[in-house]
Point group: D2
Chain length 154, copies 4
């Protein structure tokens, strides 16, 4: 039978080690200093400490760096539900920016909203950790695709 | 009177030097190796040579790096139409990825679709330059905002 | 002082009657048979019984009718937080369709995610009521705008 | 061999009659008074005369009715490139509203941007015809899906 997530069969019980290995191959994550915080069925968390060299013109984290961690969190959240031999592809995403990306550390939560055979709809949120507490700075709605048989995986 | 763009008065004749200076302060652009190719009224082009350390797990440029250059291109396209003392803010964007981000160089074109007093709607495209020619790999639809009086500009 | 919603001052204590009156003037809602179920601070619910003459080619409710009720729900959710003399405008929205729009009745929940002075970010969900239970068929992420001083309200 | 559109083989030479028949089964189009203006490979145009009973609270056409015609135009634009036995599904769309939907008649142009085997990315525009000329009032970026083997077509 296998485990299920929101009605979908979990195709790969070893999803965590597979996602962790794939994250390790996302060289841009190392470049920007992002770390994989947690991997659960349908939910992945990625964190990024603030860095001066990733900012836009006002000294905040650039919107696209905020997008980078939440895109990867959403993509890997989708990937946890895929077969071991499948690759995950970002079809499209939309992000609303809710406030300036200022803080010491940014945490992106990606979550599967609707698992489908071919397409997986995910939502993501990025929270900034500041001296005054945490605040939500971005929300993502993204469509991910399961790709098989193209000689790529992960 | 002043120049006009698509019916909107051009508020700042010196937009090009202002945009170039602001781009120089977007430290993430230096970090990833992006360069400002051209700045015209309502249209900005940014290019990025391929780099191994900006890739996702299959060796293509990460979707968020593709997003980074087209977000900045769209934001600065909007900025060209703004008053000198205004700052441009990305309200939200949507990106569709049209093919794998493989190539020697990636060129993002940002363009104003609809200039408004407060909100400016922009469209962007990213083209990959490969040995076999160029191909479109991403399309963006983004909402930018003119912000004044918050002590920030550019 | 006034009531607050998620950190924002509630500008109009009589928001419910104002929203109900405005909904009554949305003639398309009457045309398609939608009804305003509930109006709370930052949250509005609209329902629509299935009707054969609102379908697409496979007999399901047309995606844009699903969009109609959740757009109005999100717009009015934003409107509950606005001053009495302001008008709400849909800047843009994105909708993901999660399954076929089949059912006896469709219920759209609109909710404010981030209230701003000018822009209000909202999320919406549409649930289909079927003989077998309820299921989520669409999710919306939308940007609404507060417009004042243009001689329109509601 | 067959005809090609933007690199994709045209799978069904009789796409026009197929799309016209399917449009005839979209009962909501009859309900709102929309008409199919033209069907070409990868491009479909749908028009809608203004009607009082499709308005929002300020007397303009409701955003979702604007969305209805451009969603159908984009969906059928994608459908022209699909096999005869396939059905087209709207995966998701984003719409930016560029101005009030006022006018005598509204014309939606849907166009294929990127044809893929499973997913087809489309763009749409809605133009309002007024006494003072035409103006663009909405732009759409949408993902359509080719569905086969589920017992539905068109």
């Amino acid at each position: 039978m296998g485990a299920r997530y929101n009605g979908a069969v979990m195709a790969d019980p070893n999803f965590e080690s597979r996602v962790r290995a794939s994250f390790g191959r996302q060289r841009v994550m190392t470049t920007i200093g992002a770390e994989l915080v947690s991997v659960a069925a349908g939910e992945v968390v990625i964190a990024l400490p603030f860095r001066d060299d990733l900012t836009q013109q006002h000294g905040y984290l650039h919107a696209a760096i905020v997008t980078a961690i939440v895109d990867s969190a959403c993509g890997y959240a989708a990937s946890t539900l895929m077969p071991a031999e499948a690759a995950v592809l970002t079809v499209e995403y939309k992000v609303n920016f809710l406030g300036p990306a200022e803080g010491r550390r940014f945490v992106a939560h990606g979550k599967v909203l609707k698992p489908g055979r071919t397409l997986i709809v995910t939502t993501g949120e990025v929270v900034a950790e500041t001296d005054a507490g945490t605040k939500s700075i971005a929300t993502m709605l993204a469509t991910m695709m399961t790709v098989t048989g193209r000689g790529i995986a992960g």
